[in-house]
């Protein structure tokens, strides 16, 4: 259900952009107004989410530990999996952010001949890595539309990405890897029953949306060519706050930029915001130093207590009368 709904929603978005540009001629809406609004929503939304997280207290000290903690000097500590210092935490976060360390640990369980068997499962990690890294490179390559002159490291990136030298324009590997990886991530939700069971509409929408963004990009680069110089005029107009709509850019470009705008605007309010959230996960970003540093629950309020001395002070006479021993006569 969720999958079907998301698929139809993305198709409708594509149709909306198509009709809006081809029939209604609303290039300025799709090429200027919506992109600006989307970027604003993206920036404000992400900051809002991060500040909101920052305001939530962490009542308990809850780093997850996956190795030997700091102990006696002759016991070797696992500094990355069970860090006790900030440096260790930075190392652990770097492993998490750049290499998805905890996903690498994923295991699967299966019933085999009536017995529960466990095994390692690296496919999700592999697809996740392929997906995120190629997405990053694709994003960086797009800087060529947003800077003049283009920074020179892009040239290096492009020659690495296109080093197979297949076809003209040169095939960029990351675009294909991105599309394949996102397809795997989608099929996984269809075919693994447990994953299918827990998949919601909000899991499918980003997948279909990213798939559509990647497909329109690939179509535009290799099949339905558009005037790239005109496109750059438009994008440079956006970033220099001098928006223009050059004539004669194919509708596929407007579909592409519309889908990206939707993705950007949707980002802060969806699971995609884990981009910021990963840095704020207490199970990852706290050092396991609870035996060295006391973690104070920020909720703790000053408790009104009544000490025994005060109690005795108050009831001394009654206690004495009843024959109860008191400390001070």
């Amino acid at each position: 259900m969720g999958a079907l709904f998301s698929f139809v929603a993305v198709i409708l978005l594509i149709l909306l952009a198509y009709v809006g540009v081809e029939v209604a001629g609303m290039q300025p809406i799709f090429g200027i107004v919506i992109p600006y609004a989307a970027v604003l929503t993206f920036i404000a939304g992400v900051i809002y989410r991060v500040i909101k997280w920052g305001r939530s207290p962490i009542p308990f000290h809850i780093p997850t530990t996956c190795g030997q903690q700091k102990s006696l000097p002759w016991i070797k500590q696992n500094k990355l999996e069970n860090p006790s210092s900030s440096t260790g935490v930075i190392g652990r976060m770097a492993l998490e952010v750049f290499l998805f360390r905890s996903l690498f640990r994923l295991s699967k369980s299966e019933l085999r001949d009536g017995r529960l068997a466990y095994g390692s499962d690296k496919w999700l990690w592999l697809a996740g890595m392929a997906f995120h890294w190629s997405f990053l490179i694709v994003l960086l390559r797009h800087i060529r539309f947003f800077a003049t002159p283009v920074p020179s490291y892009l040239n290096l990136l492009e020659s690495l990405d296109g080093f197979l030298q297949v076809g003209v324009p040169r095939l960029f590997m990351t675009g294909i890897i991105l599309l394949l990886a996102v397809t795997y991530l989608l099929l996984r939700r269809f075919y693994i029953p447990q994953v299918r069971y827990i998949s919601l509409t909000s899991d499918y929408i980003p997948l279909f949306l990213i798939m559509a963004v990647a497909s329109t990009g690939i179509l535009m680069r290799y099949f339905f060519k558009v005037d790239i110089v005109g496109v750059k005029e438009l994008t440079m107009g956006l970033v220099s706050f001098n928006p223009t709509i050059p004539k004669g850019i194919g509708v596929i470009f407007y579909i592409h930029i519309f889908l990206i705008s939707i993705l950007f605007a949707y980002f802060p309010f969806s699971k995609l915001v884990h981009m910021g959230g990963v840095f704020l996960s207490p199970t990852r970003n706290l050092a396991n130093n609870s035996r060295m540093v006391r973690h104070i629950n920020p909720w703790n309020y000053p408790v009104k207590f009544h000490s025994y001395e005060e109690y005795e002070e108050e009831f001394r006479k009654k206690m004495k009368d009843a024959g109860i021993p008191v400390e001070k006569e």
Partner: protein
């Protein structure tokens, strides 16, 4: 806010990344490239027309070159019949670059702007051109 300093630092890094295109381009003139077609060969043409219509060439010249290459190298067919029925000899150096002998003022103008680096000139010989000012020469690849 808890750990406010760290969170603000993180937000600043985020802003530095996402607003890069905006502050990077502040105050820079947004000049689009004007590829020049004033070569001797084109001056001689009765009608200043390319192999195919201009809009097509603008967006699809790389696909056309790919077709030309496949046609010449794989099928041995070195004649291209254009959509208006004119015939051209399929050759990057002797057809395209004979008319567009000003590669630096024509092809490179767009390509530098859009950060495209065709590797064709690793093997194919680019037309000889008059020396250009050192400042512009830096832009060539």
């Amino acid at each position: 806010m808890y750990d406010g300093g760290k969170i603000l630092f993180g937000i600043l890094i985020f802003l530095a990344f996402v607003t890069f295109p905006f502050y990077n381009d502040i105050g820079k003139a947004n000049v689009k490239p004007e590829p020049k077609i004033d070569t001797p060969e084109i001056q001689k043409l009765p009608q200043k027309k390319c192999v195919e219509p201009k809009a097509f060439m603008k967006a699809e010249h790389m696909k056309l070159l790919n077709e030309w290459r496949d046609s010449a190298v794989r099928d041995g067919n070195r004649v291209y019949v254009a959509s208006d029925g004119k015939r051209y000899i399929i050759s990057l150096q002797n057809t395209c670059m004979r008319c567009h002998s000003n590669k630096k003022e024509f092809c490179d103008k767009c390509h530098n702007y859009a950060e495209v680096n065709p590797y064709c000139w690793d093997c194919h010989i680019a037309p000889k051109e008059a020396k250009i000012a050192p400042k512009e020469a830096k832009n060539e690849y």
